[in-house]
Symmetry: C2
Subunit: 134 residues, 2 copies
Amino acid sequence: MTIDTTTRGTVRAYHEARFQGDVTTAAAQIGEGFRFRSPFITSDSPTGHLDGLDGLLGIVTGVELISELYGETEATLVYDVHTTPAIGITQRTAEHFRLRDGRITSIELIFDAGPWQAIMSAVGTTHDEAVRTA
Amino acid sequence: MTIDTTTRGTVRAYHEARFQGDVTTAAAQIGEGFRFRSPFITSDSPTGHLDGLDGLLGIVTGVELISELYGETEATLVYDVHTTPAIGITQRTAEHFRLRDGRITSIELIFDAGPWQAIMSAVGTTHDEAVRTA
């Protein structure tokens, strides 16, 4: 139970810092050998996936946690990311974490990128620009 | 712990039956008021989301379970669905279950539908046809 509490503490600290735009606190939860993957980004630096976070947060109106489940060395969150009316996407997201020694060593962000691709096409955003906000 | 074991038993029975094409066993794990949602389907019948399962399984070569986490009344699985070389998609999937009295009352299937939409466009499949295999 102590281990699960540690897992929860680290993952929640990361999650909350990320959606508050606090890159320093989010990065402090990341451990060695970190790897991030989402439909738009693959990164192995501790903060590479947080580049452009301000751009993302500029269109996010709220994050609604639907589920949080913790194991000894992993966790999965499920949440909805609500966006401004101009964007109009509610992004149902799953985020799977692996941890070692109380630090996050991998994150898999799973969501349907289709709605974002439609918006990017509509506004003429390039893929390279898009990934910096993913 | 007993409750988590019940949750695990039901969810694993459903998961394995689904990918073996055993609709009867999968449906037996579904409870009243069931609701299913994926990027392609919203259904509230116990087996509506399993229509066309044979079509899906015809292109699936394997399912690789990456994570399974269980709570008292919910669970989240993360897995890769591998497909035939002709399709060439490895679908990283998260599946969130809610349960009541040992039966599944909701499933949220989260994955990036983008690669499927590209294939459907290429082969001229209509959306209605596509949802029956999702």
